[in-house]
């Protein structure tokens, strides 16, 4: 019989209380893990950013276009490897609730810029050749059952009219951190329609995507790009892809801050739940601790008993919570359209944070009862009536 056996027996002394505490901790850990996963999903675009990609947009706002004519001038800047471009298409597929990102892109360069989207070479060739073709991610294909050769009809909103796209390529995300819900079609297809129907809107792109040879040159090249178009009708703002993505989510930063705050409030709740249990347990055992001290057990033995019990409960609660986090995130990911949260998975850092938090709370929750047990004299402890 060792001291830690006594610790385990103590932890199971009030089975219902211990069970409820473990369940309480596990629910809190699940909530923590889930919220952190939502925050991670929110930042997925930022995390996906590559250091060697720049984005050039209209300096006034992202919603204003910039001329297609800028493309060749940007390409001439030393250090620029590839220049691609995109337009946000918008559009309605089935109804407005069926949201996924739809973009008019340069088919010749888009997949060079995004090697994390893996397209079978034969499909890529077909996609490049056909003007009304589209390429989409496997997650989107799975969600709507799209197959190669399918025709996808859409109702334009930003670009009015009825549109049809033929699926010619389905890309595979390189790993689970890459968005598999994107929808790309030919920018030329869009521009031709604009020339015919709304000439004033033809020849414009939403933003340029620039692949540079040396990521360390990003600041210099960004400045050179913007200097090229100073005092023009559409001045530009060039920044790293990461900064561009961060700008997108800046508008929701309050929500993210709140989610982060709530996730740490949950840690506080774990602390209160476990702390309450440990205080009650230690109070009930005041006399037993006095008996142990009488027998010669020292402070370090009481530390082992009290902190150990607290850690055992927090470890079980934390472990159970982490085990439950995976299926919950999985169910959520299946229940909501993939395009809402294209990248939704439990990040290793979330697991580490949850585990560390649960264990840290286990240690912290034992401090007060331990202090009390150590400070209570043997005589007072033996007299204690709980």
């Amino acid at each position: 019989m060792k001291v830690f056996k006594l610790m385990f027996k103590n932890a199971l002394r009030h089975k219902l209380r211990t069970f409820l505490t473990i369940v309480g901790i596990s629910i809190a850990v699940v909530a923590f893990g889930f919220l952190r996963t939502v925050v991670t999903a929110w930042y997925a675009g930022v995390e996906m950013s590559a250091a060697n990609r720049l984005v050039t947009r209209n300096s006034v706002s992202f919603i204003f276009p910039i001329p297609y004519a800028y493309r060749d001038r940007i390409a001439q800047i030393p250090g620029v490897e590839t220049v691609s471009y995109s337009n946000w298409f918008g559009g309605v597929y089935i109804d407005k609730s069926q949201f996924f990102a739809r973009m008019a892109v340069d088919p010749e360069t888009i997949f060079d810029l995004y090697p994390e989207f893996i397209v079978p070479p034969d499909q890529l060739e077909t996609f490049k050749k056909e003007r009304n073709s589209c390429a989409l991610g496997t997650d989107l294909a799975k969600q709507y059952g799209f197959k190669i050769g399918d025709v996808i009809p859409m109702e334009g909103d930003i670009y009015p009219g009825k549109w049809e796209f033929v699926v010619r390529a389905i890309y595979q995300p390189r790993d689970k951190t890459v968005d598999g819900t994107q929808f790309f079609f030919h920018w030329q297809y869009l521009d031709e329609r604009m020339k015919a129907e709304m000439p004033g809107r033809a020849g414009d792109v939403g933003w340029y995507l620039i692949k540079i040879k040396d990521p360390n040159q990003s600041a210099v090249i960004s400045e050179q790009v913007d200097n090229l178009f100073k005092n023009s009708r559409a001045e530009t703002k060039t920044e790293t892809e990461r900064a561009f993505q961060e700008g997108f989510i800046q508008g929701t930063s309050l929500i993210i801050t709140l989610l982060n705050f709530i996730s740490f409030v949950i840690i506080g709740i774990i602390f209160l739940v476990l702390g309450n249990t440990m205080i009650m347990s230690a109070r009930e055992r005041t006399k037993e601790y006095a008996v142990l001290k009488t027998l010669g057990f020292s402070g370090k033995h009481l530390l082992g008993l009290i902190a150990g019990e607290s850690l055992v409960i927090s470890a079980f609660g934390g472990g159970l919570g982490l085990l439950l986090t995976y299926p919950l995130v999985g169910v959520f990911s299946l229940a909501v359209p993939k395009s809402w949260f294209p990248i939704f998975y439990v990040e290793p850092l979330t697991i580490v944070l949850a585990a560390i938090s649960a264990l840290a709370v286990g240690v912290l929750a034992s401090i007060f009862p331990l202090q009390k047990a150590l400070r209570t004299s043997i005589v007072d402890g033996l007299r204690f009536v709980g």
Binding site: R13, G296, S298, L382
Partner: protein, 223 residues
């Protein structure tokens, strides 16, 4: 026989709020080795306090307590804890067994602080439980034992480390007459056969009769 316990002009008082409550006043007491001493007196007379001081679980405000030549009042907390674990066996009125441990595990508790191997600990536990006549109940939990049996397990726990002194605070106070007789007989046997020096606090004259000497305390003074 030499003196095992020397209590010299010991005083002890407690503070309740801002009031000092004197409990023991200039107590001087000598207990020879192998003695069986009963401390008697009415409630509040200070007998349990004196027992606690002798056992090293409380400290006097003045005076000295020497056990086998060691002035225990001079020992620091950890040294005192170590001294208690090897020199003193405790028997409480309400047994104070740990409810989550079996009789065997309760008796083994003080042995965990020694350097004995698992096998040696087993021998000690089995011997102690045999002495108290509970070898067949070693796997029982306290709630599965009668009051008298619980107290016998507590005595086995007290003697498991083979201490020189046994201190017993009202060891029969919670027991019926038959069980009390059994416990007193057992204490007498430990004193006679195993040469344990016993200091027992009791207010039961029948229990005190089993001791060799009975000393009376009244209002903190030894009569």
């Amino acid at each position: 026989m030499g003196s095992m316990i020397e209590v010299q002009t010991v005083s002890k008082s407690y503070w309740r709020d801002s009031f000092e409550i004197p409990v023991l006043k200039n107590i001087t007491l000598s207990v020879p080795e192998g003695e069986f001493l009963a401390l008697m007196g009415p409630s509040g007379s200070g007998k349990t306090t004196l027992l606690n001081l002798i056992a090293g679980i409380d400290r006097p405000n003045a005076g000295s307590i020497t056990i086998s030549g060691i002035d225990i009042a001079t020992l620091n907390e950890s040294a005192l804890a170590k001294w208690r674990s090897t020199h003193v066996g405790f028997i409480f009125q309400f047994y104070n067994l740990l409810p989550v441990l079996t009789a065997y595990e309760n008796v083994e508790l003080p042995l965990l602080l020694t350097s004995l191997s698992k096998k040696e600990r087993k021998q000690h536990v089995e011997t102690a439980l045999s002495v108290v006549g509970l070898a067949d109940r070693m796997n029982h939990y306290p709630k599965q034992l009668s009051g008298g049996q619980e107290q016998r397990v507590a005595i086995a726990r007290a003697i498991a480390t083979d201490p020189t002194i046994l201190v017993a605070d009202e060891p029969t106070g919670d027991l019926d007459k038959n069980s009390a007789d059994e416990i007193l007989t057992l204490l007498g046997r430990l004193n006679k056969e195993f040469k344990k020096t016993i200091v027992m606090v009791t207010h039961d004259p029948r229990a005190a009769e089993r001791a060799h000497i009975a000393r009376h305390l009244d209002k903190g003074e030894l009569q």
